[in-house]
């Protein structure tokens, strides 16, 4: 099954109700099952430069890498998807960092990142900062990334509960970002993918303004029409105040997409056997 036919991908962004600039950036490459979302920050208008660089560089470089070699192939004990994501994120980090160091108007810029590649009935997700990826499966919404933020660390340390975190005044502090240091430590995970799943990548402008239950209801009600669903999510964020830029990428899994035979892996064989 061709990945481009197995997935329906829709993206939408808005600068929100308060900001004049949109520092979010998104990029999708349906032929590779690749989606990238970044939320820029720092000095004047440099945030949009950082997020724009991140999505453009990662989008085109990963497209090249995954067109040349299928992401499911193993190299040692790691998949090509993981190896390439890590390598390209490191290169992108260097590009943004060097631009920020060499040009005064870009000083201090950085960006969050959430980047996912779908292949062989799996998805590999890399993220840095507080942009998120959610999965709606059988009516249940789950956040499959964990923010790199002060709040999330406080929750992990047991200082505050997730409910109290909604009322915190420290929402906007991330502990990791792309392009602010010479090196970066992205978090990578693999997840299995089932037909019927709906994935949502979003900037914090969505989840700060719309509670998870409402996101889940919207996904459940409107997954039959992804463009309407994306507009509705953006509309909900803006109706609730829209204090930040808000961007969403929605991915609906219409059918299974095992890797092409020939490059079969234990995973695809196991999958074929399970779904026989």
């Amino acid at each position: 099954m061709d990945i481009a036919n197995a997935l329906e991908i829709v993206t939408e962004t808005s600068s929100g109700m308060v900001r004049t600039h949109n520092e979010d950036a998104t990029r999708t490459v349906p032929s590779c099952g690749l989606v990238v979302l970044a939320d820029g920050m720092g000095g004047y208008n440099a945030g949009e430069v950082a997020s724009g660089m991140a999505t453009a560089v990662l989008g085109s470089e990963l497209e090249k890498a995954f067109t040349a070699k299928s992401p499911h192939l193993m190299e040692g004990n790691r998949s090509w998807a993981q190896i390439q994501l890590e390598a390209e994120i490191a290169l992108t980090n260097t590009s943004i960092y060097q631009a920020a160091q060499s040009q005064p108007q870009y000083a201090g810029m950085g960006t969050t990142l959430v980047c996912a590649v779908f292949y062989d009935n799996r998805v590999t997700v890399a993220h840095i900062g507080d942009s998120r990826m959610y999965r709606q499966r059988d009516g249940t919404l789950e956040c499959i990334t964990r923010d790199h933020s002060l709040l999330e660390e406080q929750i992990a340390a047991g200082m505050i509960t997730r409910e109290q975190a909604r009322h915190s005044q420290n929402k906007n502090l991330v502990t990791r970002a792309l392009g602010v240091d010479p090196s970066v430590d992205p978090e990578l995970h693999d997840h299995d993918v089932l037909p019927g799943d709906v994935y949502l990548l979003c900037s914090d402008g969505l989840n700060d303004m719309v509670v998870d239950e409402e996101i889940s209801e919207t996904l459940a009600a409107l997954s039959a029409n992804l463009p309407v669903c994306a507009s509705q999510l953006i509309g909900q964020a803006n109706d609730n105040g829209g204090r930040d830029n808000v961007s969403v990428i929605l991915i609906k899994v219409k059918s299974a997409f095992p890797a092409a035979s020939g490059g079969e892996t234990w995973w695809s064989r196991l999958w074929a056997w399970l779904t026989k």
Partner: protein, 238 residues
């Protein structure tokens, strides 16, 4: 910046700015907030402030620490909370920033590992284009509840078919109508009213005899909606 206002018998005694990571409260003189009263333990409680958030913790006092009438061991302070220690009251005030600070106050910022976490220094600091320690901006109050709560409630009354006469109140933010796989439309409840949008199916809903396009359409009192062969009326409940 957040502060505590100390009072007794409704008489304001003093303001204490929460500008330290730990602000101690107790009877002994070494406390940041010393309350010389026998009902107060020597070391009674501590307020831990991390940037714009403050936490109150009772540190084993004899008579306990109360917030808004409830005994607490540990409490995440919210603007307006009243801490009670014996006959004394400490009101927690964490004001919203002035509107002039609005454009920049909630920008996402990087907090570096090892960076000293210290209380907010106020909103006067301009964001600086340097990667060195970041001034914490003062955030606005939590988002207001969705304003749909105040908008008048609409409802749908079925006019034809087996369910004729039935009414459905549109209290949820999204109400889907129709048959999945055949024809589905959604009515979204928004601050400006109700909007109907086509979701799936080859035929689009018809409102007052006119077929919808892909755009949402605002529903007005007594609009007639036709969907999957059924007519219904939208109306606003008084």
């Amino acid at each position: 910046m957040a502060k505590l206002i100390l009072s007794m018998d409704n008489l304001q005694l003093k303001d204490i700015a929460l500008n330290k990571e730990r602000t101690t409260i107790g009877r002994k003189p070494h406390n940041d907030i010393q309350i010389d009263n026998l009902a107060i333990s020597g070391e009674h409680a501590v307020v831990i402030t991390i940037l714009n958030d403050s936490f109150l913790e009772d540190i084993g006092s004899t008579n306990g620490t109360f917030v808004n009438g409830q005994a607490v061991k540990k409490h995440f302070l919210q603007n307006g909370d009243t801490i009670e220690l014996g006959k004394y009251r400490l009101k927690y005030v964490n004001d919203a920033p002035p509107p002039s600070a609005a454009p920049d106050f909630e920008r996402t910022m990087i907090l570096r590992p090892g960076q000293v976490v210290r209380p907010a220094e106020g909103v006067s600091d301009e964001p600086k284009p340097t990667p060195t320690p970041v001034q914490a901006p003062v955030a606005p109050p939590p988002p207001p509840p969705p304003s749909t709560a105040q908008a008048p409630v609409g409802a749908i009354k079925v006019l034809t078919g087996g369910n004729a006469g039935k009414e459905l109140e549109l209290t949820k933010s999204l109400t889907t109508l129709g048959k999945p796989g055949v024809q589905v439309a959604v009515i979204a409840r928004r601050p400006l009213g109700y909007f109907i949008t086509h979701v799936e199916g080859a035929t689009f809903p018809i409102v007052n005899g006119v077929s919808l396009d892909a755009q949402p359409r605002k529903l007005i009192d007594h609009d007639i909606v036709e969907l999957a062969g059924t007519k219904m009326e939208f109306f606003v409940k008084s």
